[in-house]
């Protein structure tokens, strides 16, 4: 009798669970491999419901560093990539994995650091000089170290500053191999400098003693692009629905929504789909 009670309880539990299917499972959906900055900044939470309401297509976002996102697409596990490292994107296109690259929006990177400012760079406009000072003073610096768009940008900045990173790196240079938010948490805890995209920085809630130390240099420009994964390479790509998402992002409506996403009084991303050179 007791056995029957057990079995009934277990069975009814299974039935109850089995009847629950996430609604999305039955719907049209596409998978978008994107960056941690678009997720951690909250942009997707603001954009996607509007797109889904209009088209009935659910967008599943996998947030990874740009390098990993492109790799996910190369494996055939995404329909669209939405990332920010132009050189890596062009390589992806050249290898035949992307159909066409569309510029979507930009924001910029900022150098973030502790109030104590051990490298003495606060308030500067010249990012190369600031990076040079950090390296020379061996001030703690936290690097993403994950082949993300931000990591690529950081490596370019060291080169621009005339720093031969492999030669000078030491204990002060800390590569953590994690996303933007985790990197900011680490910089806060280690009283260190780091490079962040502005969107994630504004949305980040654990700023502690950190603040922007360098901003406004042209070298800190950060462009986002979107590409449909090439169906001739990856036959499972959902061409129509994926392209519909891209078309919406670069449409006046999508661009207006990007421009309208604000935290407090700050705009996080600036649409520029109309700039073919971006």
């Amino acid at each position: 009798m007791l056995r029957r009670t057990f079995v009934t309880a277990a069975a009814s539990m299974l039935v109850a669970l089995g009847m629950f299917h996430p609604a999305e499972a039955e719907e049209r959906f596409i998978t978008v491999a994107s960056t941690t900055s678009t997720q951690d900044s909250g942009l997707f939470d603001a954009l996607l419901p509007a797109f889904t309401a209009k088209t009935g297509i659910t967008v599943k976002v996998i947030a990874q560093g740009t390098g990993q996102a492109l790799d996910t697409a190369r494996r055939g596990d995404a329909d669209v990539v939405f990332v920010h490292a132009k050189a890596q994107e062009l390589k992806f296109l050249e290898d035949g994995f992307g159909v066409k690259r569309y510029p979507v929006m930009y924001n910029d990177f900022v150098v973030v650091g502790p109030k104590s400012d051990p490298a003495g760079i606060a308030g500067g406009k010249d990012v190369a000089a600031a990076f040079k000072a950090i390296a020379e003073k061996k001030a703690p610096f936290v690097s993403r170290g994950d082949k993300s768009g931000t990591h690529s940008a950081e490596l370019k900045l060291w080169t621009a500053a005339g720093i031969d990173l492999p030669a000078v790196r030491g204990e002060w240079y800390r590569e953590i191999g994690q996303g933007m938010g985790a990197t900011l948490n680490t910089a806060n805890a280690m009283v260190a400098y780091t490079l962040s995209d502005r969107g994630t920085w504004i949305a980040f809630a654990n700023k502690g003693d950190l603040g922007i130390v360098v901003e406004g240099d042209k070298k800190l420009f950060n462009q986002y692009g979107v590409m449909l994964v090439n169906p001739t390479k990856i036959p499972t790509v959902k061409v129509d629905d994926g392209q519909a998402f891209i078309d919406w992002l670069i449409s006046p409506e999508g661009q207006a929504m990007i421009a309208g996403y604000r935290i407090g009084d700050q705009q996080l991303f600036f649409p520029n789909a109309d700039d073919p050179k971006a």
Partner: protein, 236 residues
């Protein structure tokens, strides 16, 4: 500002606010974990008992291997399953990557060795005790498996709870194979990881408190049921 106390009120508003979005996360977590542990129990309990009673060459090696697998690092399990389920992997055509099913598979793989290993130990001890009795009744080793499993049911609840603990606390594997997709594969633990990386530490901690409370509730329930069951079946 960040040192906000994690008050009951803030946890409640978290649970009920945002259009029940958070209840969905809890439900998905329970669904994935309970399915994985149930399946692992259905496979692992008989398998563990069979391993306890059978004698064959290489048995010791298998026991050591199963015991080792109890410490299988979740990220490694996650990566292996990711490679299997990826579109370019051997099982890619099934389209399971980044779905709740992929997370269930990952947790099943992690929980199974725990259930097999602990069941084997429990049943082996019981067999030593009952061997003469069962043999005199004419039950062979294979025929004794259901009897022994039934007799050990209250100890085996703890085995299942150990499996449940591993599954519900796990984040490394399901983050890789599920992708932490909002509203689809986002669970309690992956939400905690995400909120931490957004720097929203109070929210992450509040989620942690909710997860711990759920685990406490499940364990209390299981303990209560097995106590009541033991009393009625005349075992204390």
């Amino acid at each position: 500002m960040q040192q906000d106390a994690i008050s009951t009120a803030s946890i409640l508003s978290l649970l009920l606010g945002d259009g029940g979005h958070f209840l969905g996360i809890i439900f998905l977590s329970l669904q994935v974990t309970i399915t994985a542990v149930t399946c692992a129990g259905l496979v692992g309990l008989p398998l563990g008992a069979a391993l306890a009673l059978s004698r064959f060459p290489g048995r010791t090696v298998i026991i050591v291997l199963v015991n080792t697998m109890m410490g299988f690092p979740p990220v490694v399990a996650g990566l292996a399953i990711f490679l299997l389920l990826s579109r370019s992997g051997p099982l890619g055509d099934m389209g399971l990557l980044f779905t709740p099913k992929a997370m269930m598979i990952a947790q099943f793989v992690l929980v199974l060795p725990i259930i097999v290993a602990l069941t084997r130990q429990t049943i082996e001890d019981l067999w030593t005790e009952y061997q003469d009795h069962l043999t005199s009744l004419g039950a062979g080793r294979l025929r004794s498996i259901p009897t022994l499993l039934w007799d050990a049911r209250f100890s085996l609840v703890t085995t299942l709870l150990a499996g449940l603990g591993r599954a519900s606390a796990e984040v490394g594997a399901i983050l890789i194979v599920g992708g932490n997709i909002a509203g689809f594969t986002r669970t309690m633990t992956t939400s905690i990881a995400l909120e931490t990386s957004k720097g929203d530490l109070p929210l992450a901690m509040a989620l942690g408190v909710v997860l711990m409370s759920l685990t406490l509730a499940i364990n209390s329930l299981a303990y209560g049921i097995s106590r009541v069951g033991a009393r009625f079946s005349g075992k204390s």
